[in-house]
Amino acid sequence: MEIIQVVGIGLIAALLVILVREQKPQFAFLITVFTGVFLFLLVIGKVGAVINVINELANRSGIPDVYLKTILKIIGIAYVAEFGAQMVRDAGQESIASKIEFAGKIFILVLAIPIINVIIETLLTLLPLGSS
């Protein structure tokens, strides 16, 4: 029942943030960041286990390694970008947060381009017009 742990940590952190924010908002922000990272670290081990299973399945089914790696990288970028954007948004910098999200989208797009390329090439070989 690790969820009880997570909820407890969240409640305590929220309490402390309210307590400190009146006097020193900087420390409230630090507590927020620390709690976010801590909860993330608590969960990310499980994500690793799941990804190992997916990796094994992909190896067995003979999907090219590149696709799975790309997808995992995209998931990682999404996690990190979301995390950073939320932290910055908590600090009250909405514009920087949206820039972080934008950069994350761009990087994901760059990673996805080889896959899109493969899809389009497959489509062109399927079309009768493309072969002529």
């Binding site: 402390l16 400190v20 420390f27 630090l30 690793g48």
Partner: protein, 65 residues
């Protein structure tokens, strides 16, 4: 890395706030501001450690290297 670090950061914040108030009463506001900065740096060092750990973990799990 322990959960107690949250309490540590909050404790540093409260102590700094108290010191700030006392120093303000004594009329030494410049020292009070420096103490605030010092406490913030101490807190940042605690947080930076955890963030580095997080990024390392993400790198190793999502095959970034």
């Amino acid at each position: 890395m322990e959960i107690t670090a949250i309490f540590q950061i909050a404790g540093v914040g409260i102590i700094i706030a108290i010191m700030h108030t006392v120093l303000k009463q004594m009329g030494k506001e410049d020292i009070a501001h420096w103490i605030t900065v010092l406490g913030f740096v101490i807190g940042i060092f605690m947080v930076i450690d955890v963030i580095a750990k997080l990024f390392q973990e993400i790198k190793s799990i999502f095959l970034f290297q």
